[in-house]
Symmetry: C2
Subunit: 311 residues, 2 copies
């Protein structure tokens, strides 16, 4: 008989929960609200209750369940300690121990970006590869590293948090972290808009971007239509994206690099844009890495959380 596994991806507003088979088939995915009041003290009980209700509803015994994995928006170390998760109201919480005490099933926990990387490696853009780098391009730049099929957690759960590696010595604006020249200042959606404004201000060349309050998506749309300034912006964006990925890949030598997050909706054009600087900056021994787009969207975290329990 097929055994089951639960995957949970806790966000600041809702927690996505998935019931999957051991082989990763989707049985039931649903959401519950994330109650952040009282320093988020109800979150893990709510998750445990939701899983227990689902087991009752579907007549699933404890012995049919391998366990539950959970991803949270904060650094989680190998022992399950989350030192802080601002969006949940948590100070130090041992996620594994607390969820286990309520759920009475085996539990694994990880950082949400790392867990999403594991999901993409299992069933998404990195399927079939054991060594993967996920780069998530959203409001910021996040990431996750999979080594021999497992999350690279690091000392305190900050493995793969590559948004603040230093990329440019000549940057004059400060990053949110206080440094100058972080990966995230260029390769996030916000970073793309910042680069665009800078390039637009430096010339009078006509561009459809001049007539609108544009977002990151509009830049790539304009570039695809052949807008010259937008193409120039996209190339600058690709330069930084390729450089940041090259440096990261030179450290860990991944088989495949998967690009996710909102900006990845721009599609394959990103690979053309990033490859010249990737190839320039990457260590030759790491040059053969494949590139792919993330495939699981918002479900990546649920898949990855489930997969953690199956290590």
């Amino acid at each position: 008989m097929a055994r089951y596994v639960f995957g949970v991806d806790v966000g600041g507003t809702t927690a996505k929960i998935g019931l999957l088979t051991e082989s990763g088939e989707k049985v039931d995915f649903w959401e519950i609200p994330t109650r952040t009041e009282n320093n988020g003290e109800y979150i893990l009980s709510d998750v445990a209750d939701a899983i227990r209700s689902k087991m009752k509803e579907r007549n699933i015994d404890d012995s049919d369940v391998v366990g539950a994995g959970i991803g949270v928006p904060g650094a989680v170390n190998i022992d399950g300690n989350c030192y802080q998760a601002v969006n949940l109201g948590w100070e130090k919480v041992n996620v594994v121990n607390e969820l286990h005490s309520k759920l009475k099933l085996p539990v694994k926990a990880g950082n949400d970006a790392n867990v999403a990387a594991l999901g993409e490696a299992w069933k998404g853009g990195g399927q079939g590869y054991q060594n993967m780098l996920l780069v998530t391009l959203g409001t910021g730049v996040g990431g996750g590293i999979i080594i021999e099929g497992k999350i690279l957690t690091g000392a305190k759960g900050s493995g793969g948090e590559i948004g603040h590696i230093h990329l440019d010595d000549n940057e004059y604006e400060a990053c949110g972290c206080g440094n100058h020249g972080c990966f995230e200042q260029y390769a996030s959606a916000t970073g793309a808009v910042r680069l665009a404004k800078r390039i637009l201000a430096a010339s009078d060349e006509p561009s459809i971007l001049r007539d609108m309050e544009f977002e990151c998506k509009d830049i790539f749309d304009a570039a695809k239509k052949g807008d010259k300034v937008a193409c120039d912006i996209a190339q600058h964006y690709g330069y930084y994206l390729g450089k940041g990925i090259a440096i990261t890949a030179s450290v860990i030598n991944p088989e495949i690099i998967v690009i996710g997050g909102g900006v990845s909706k721009a599609g394959d054009i990103l690979f053309d844009l990033l490859k010249p600087s990737f190839e320039k900056y990457v260590f030759p021994g790491c040059k053969d890495a494949k590139f792919a787009l993330a495939k699981l969207g918002n479900d990546a975290g649920v898949y990855g959380a489930a997969k953690m329990v199956l290590y």
Copy 2:
């Protein structure tokens, strides 16, 4: 009864071989010449013969031996394939299969820098830690990454090869690899001398370094004696060393960073020199990493090779 393990560190001139107990006690360490003639085709037979002779000499049965690990000066992937080892004359060689066919004992293989990192994590500067970065400062800059007690090999065995990550956008001299601004251009022994010559040429300030054909060691010796120009050079050196380590540490979040290679003989002064830029550039979640000097010197590779068999 104690079981044994063999560790082999193959260099271009000699191969160091160690017989150790499972718990890592040194029983017998010796060297054999590395015969590089005929594309190095005798190297692995010579190693197998040396191990077999030692077993005979000491009356050790096959059943008393866990296996033999071997580190070689080239990238080795997870399957034991070494794609090239110039100093041994090797083109593609499957080190695990070839040594196993001759030795008839379990074999593991890895890149020598990665294997040395494992040795330092087991019995050297990183003892007691599961997540370690080794940075080797010699003629070049090498490295090795240990994650949860195991080598981060990567897709093709180039994990931890950090000597060519990009560190400076304003470098005008080319690195041996053709790029500009690689870690190795600054933080290797050669890089330190290059920085020194540049700084000496930029002023007329007196320095004992002006009266000699100096090497890297002389720079740190002069700085320790209070030579002002040498102190300035050492600070520039530390800036780059700290920056390169910060970027690498931000990717993998190590518990401890161990510094080895010839330059590490400068001692604890290196930590004082690198820390300001390490702390400036590192991702805050990775700031708590400890620092230590490598302890095993040329034996690190033998210890690490042995440890691979004990995973």
